[in-house]
Amino acid sequence: MIEALRKAYDGELSLTGKEIIQQLMDNAEIASLEKVPMCQDTGYAVVFVELGQDVHIEGGLLEDAINEGVRRGYTEGYLRKSIVGHPLERVNTGDNTPAVIHIKLVPGEQIKIIVAPKGGGSENMSAIKMLKPAEGVEGVRKFILDTVRAAGPNPCPPIIVGVGIGGTMEKAALIAKEALLRPAGMPNPRPEIAKLESEFLNDVNALGIGPQGLGGIYTALAVHVEIYPAHIASLPVAVNINCHASRHREAIL
């Protein structure tokens, strides 16, 4: 991520934009040296679990263990508790639980856990739309640009744009979020999708939103696209936006 910011610093034409990117790099350094959060919004704890199907878990529930980890991590790590227990009554749960947990069964006898805390500011600017298949690539491009334009300064640009194309509504949203797990700027292994990623990145950056939305050529550091087979009637597209604080950690048990 720092590498991507450095590249943006070198390429940014707006002086204010350059100054902002410099502040973001300084901020990341302070956060790392002093072991404090780089952003006060330490997110919703989104946890991806790749569970080997030969694994047998004893002594309790995996979900409880994950939530206990979140509870301890957010309390002992002085991270902000940002979760309300009921979306309408809105009382803070006080320990940032529960996590949002996605479990995938995979071959083998290991458990891989990826923690990807997600801030509210960028998540709020995300969107999903069921396009008509006839709208094709141009429809997808338009929806991405409309979403990023509407988000403007809100998700703290420069951003990473995760795009999920295909599947059903929830599948498109999930693969859009999975797209954000890739290191910033690492292309999709499929050449035709990698080409689209680079086109979409140019299109997004031509919007002029720039760092913090104050104008510039680095609105996004990367656009990552994931695809999935679709129904003959459907072309779902989900756009999940991440700020530059793209914080992910994984562990294998």
Partner: protein, 185 residues
């Protein structure tokens, strides 16, 4: 390097009226924090004809929900949150003499109009630069709604807090102007 203007709260109409979009400022003095839940509660008080827990005349509200302070520190990380969520509540607070707001992201036309009418400024701080910003915060105490946790109203004392004028008392909008310059024709 562009010169930065030093401002100290409380702000007067005279000071506020001279500020223009794009100007970089260093804020000093007291800032009050407040976000969604605190704004909702303040408006409920006003609806019931009661007074607010803090005097807002001439003051600045910083839209932030800080992370907890580690031992020995004044505050945790404390960068701006998205301002638009507070828009519905803002004109009534401006009418009470609130002179400034710090956050990130665009304001509605209603808020921009109210800033012209009541002479107030909207400043942007760098979203995500929360560890850096926390270094400017010298004092912090909860002065209202402790039950809201990170959403409680804090009284902060800041030194040279960096911000940029996004909306001024003439109705200008730096987000619109900045984007226009760099948008591909």
């Amino acid at each position: 390097m562009i010169t930065k203007i030093k401002l100290t709260t409380p702000l007067s109409d005279e000071v506020v009226e001279k500020l223009r979009i794009g100007q970089k400022v260093l804020l000093n003095g007291v800032l009050y924090t407040g976000r969604d839940a605190a704004h909702k509660k303040m408006i409920e008080l006003l609806d019931n004809g009661e007074s607010l827990p803090v005097e807002l005349k001439g003051q600045i509200i910083y839209y932030v929900g800080p992370s907890p302070a580690k031992p020995g520190r004044v505050i945790g990380s404390a960068g701006p949150t998205t301002s638009g969520r507070m828009d519905a509540y803002v004109p009534r607070l401006l009418a009470l003499g609130l002179k400034g707001m710090i956050g990130k992201g665009k304001r509605t036309p209603e808020v921009i109009k109210a800033m012209k009418q009541y002479k107030a400024i909207y400043f942007a701080a760098v979203g995500g630069a929360a560890a850096l910003i926390s270094k400017c915060i010298k004092e912090a105490e909860v002065v209202a709604y402790p039950e809201l946790g990170p959403e409680a109203i804090h009284r902060l004392v800041v030194e040279d807090f960096p911000a940029i004028v996004v909306n001024d008392t003439l109705g200008g909008d730096l987000y619109d102007e900045g984007t226009k310059i760099y948008a591909a024709k």
